[in-house]
Amino acid sequence: MTGDRRDWPLYEVFLRGKRGLNHVHVGSLHAPDDAFALSHARDVYTRRNEGVSIWVVRADAITASSPDEKDPLFAPSGDKVYRHPTFYEIPADVPHM
C-alpha cells in the first residue's frame, strides 16, 4: 500500500445542524480511517458553526436503491392516494379537521 490518496476510501459526511434536527448529508471526503475522516469533516464542513454533531460513514457501506428501478420500487405508494388527508372531503364548516 502506498501513501497515494487513491487508496484512501471515500466517506460520506452527515451533520446535525442543531439539537432537535436530523443529521443531513452534506458531502463527502477521502480519509485513511474513521478517526481522520471525522477530523477532516470538522475542517471541511464545519468552519462556520454548521454542526453540533458529525457522522461519517464509508461510502461502500451504504446500500442504495438503483435509479433504474425507481418506478417499480416506488410505484406501490403512487396509487394509494387514500393515504393522504386531502383524499377525504369534509365540509369546510367542520372545525379543527
Binding site: 501513501g3 497515494d4 458531502g27 463527502s28 468552519r47 435509479p67
Partner: protein, 319 residues
C-alpha cells in the same frame, strides 16, 4: 418471484434525461446521462476546483506580511475557505466517476486548466482587498446562477461556496475602504491595484459569446444558466456604484451609463491577453504550477504517514 425487466434502450434513457432537464429538475450521480454531459461537467467542475486551490497562492503570499493580527486572521480564514471550496468541488466531480487523484494529476500535467485570473501577481496588500472586491465579486456573479445548475452535486457545492464567498467580498471591500480613509499614499495603492485587476476581472467571465464554442450546449443542458456576456454586463453594472462609493476610478475611458439600454457601456477587454494567459503565457503561470507541484510533492510524507498510522491502528484494534 421477480421478472427481469428489459434494459431500457439508449433512446429511452436519453428521453428521460431530456425530460428531467426540460422540467428544470436535477440530474443525480447514478442517473443515466449523455457522455458529452458527463465530460462537460467533469471539465467545468475540475477547472473550478483547481481554480480554488491555485487561488490560494496569490493571497497566501501575504499571510506572513499582514499589517495586523486582525487582517492576518481574516486572510488565513479566507485562504482556508478556498481550500475547502476546492474540496467541495473535487467531491462533486468525483460523483461523475473520476478520482480526485486523477484530477490532481491532470492539473499537474497541465492537461486541465484553472481560472486565468490567478496568473496575475499580488504586488501590494491592497491586492488582497481588490481580489476580495473584484475577483470574488466576479466569481459570485458567475457562481450564484450555478446554484441552479442541472447537476445536483455541483449545485449543492455552489450553494455552500456562495454563502462563504460573501464574506470574501465584504472583507475585501472593507479593507479597501479602510485604506481609502488613510494617507494619499494608501489611496494611490488602492487605485493602482484596481487599475491592474479591473480588466483581468472582466476576463474571468470568459470569451465573448460569439467566440465561446461550448456555451450553447452548456446552456441547453442547464449546466450554465447565463451567457458570458450577460454575466459580464451584470458585474459591470453592480461594480460601478461600488467604485463610486469607494472613491476609485475604474480604468476604462468608455465606461458610461447608457439610459437607453439601462446598462453601462464599457470597453472591450484585450482578448489576445486572455488567450495568452490561458495558453500559459501569463505573468505567473509557471510560478503557480511550480508551487502547486512542490506543495504536492512536499506533502507526500504527510499522506504516507497518515496511511501508515491508519494501518497500524487497524492492526492493533484486531489484536
Amino acid at each position: 418471484m421477480t421478472t427481469t425487466p428489459m434494459p431500457p434502450t439508449e433512446a429511452a434513457l436519453q428521453a428521460s434525461f431530456d425530460a428531467t432537464i426540460a422540467h428544470h429538475d436535477r440530474i443525480e450521480p447514478r442517473d443515466w446521462m449523455p457522455e458529452g454531459y458527463r465530460k462537460t461537467l467533469i471539465r467545468q467542475i475540475a477547472q473550478h476546483a483547481h481554480s480554488e486551490i491555485i487561488g490560494m497562492q496569490p493571497e497566501g503570499n501575504w499571510i506572513s506580511r499582514a499589517p495586523s493580527l486582525r487582517r492576518k486572521a481574516i486572510l488565513l480564514a479566507k485562504v482556508q475557505d478556498e481550500a475547502g471550496h476546492g474540496l467541495y468541488l473535487y467531491s462533486a466531480c468525483e460523483t461523475l466517476g473520476v478520482s480526485r487523484a486523477e484530477l490532481v494529476e491532470l492539473l499537474l500535467a497541465g492537461k486541465q486548466k484553472y481560472s486565468s485570473i490567478f496568473n496575475y501577481p499580488t504586488l501590494s496588500y491592497a491586492d488582497v482587498g481588490t481580489i476580495g472586491w473584484l475577483v470574488d465579486g466576479a466569481a459570485i456573479c458567475n457562481q450564484v446562477p450555478l446554484c441552479r445548475t442541472s447537476y445536483g452535486p455541483y449545485g449543492r457545492a455552489m450553494i455552500r461556496i456562495c454563502k462563504e464567498e460573501s464574506f470574501h467580498q465584504r472583507q475585501g471591500y472593507e479593507l479597501l475602504m479602510t485604506m481609502m480613509r488613510g494617507t494619499d499614499e494608501q489611496r494611490a495603492m488602492v487605485q493602482e491595484s484596481v487599475d491592474r485587476f479591473w480588466w483581468p476581472s472582466l476576463m474571468m467571465f470568459g470569451p465573448p459569446d460569439d467566440a465561446s464554442p461550448n456555451s450553447e450546449q452548456s446552456m441547453a443542458w442547464g449546466v450554465k444558466r447565463n451567457s458570458n456576456d450577460e454575466l459580464r454586463q451584470k458585474f459591470v453594472d453592480m461594480t460601478v456604484p461600488q467604485a463610486e462609493a469607494l472613491g476609485v476610478t475604474l480604468p476604462d475611458p468608455d465606461l458610461r451609463w447608457n439610459a437607453e439600454r439601462g446598462h453601462h457601456d464599457f470597453g472591450e477587454p484585450d482578448w489576445a491577453e486572455l488567450t495568452a494567459v490561458i495558453r500559459g503565457n501569463g505573468p505567473c503561470n509557471a510560478q503557480r504550477m511550480a508551487h502547486r507541484r512542490a506543495a504536492h510533492e512536499n506533502g507526500a510524507w504527510v499522506r504516507e504517514a497518515a496511511t501508515a498510522f491508519a494501518a497500524r491502528t487497524a492492526q492493533e484494534a484486531q489484536r
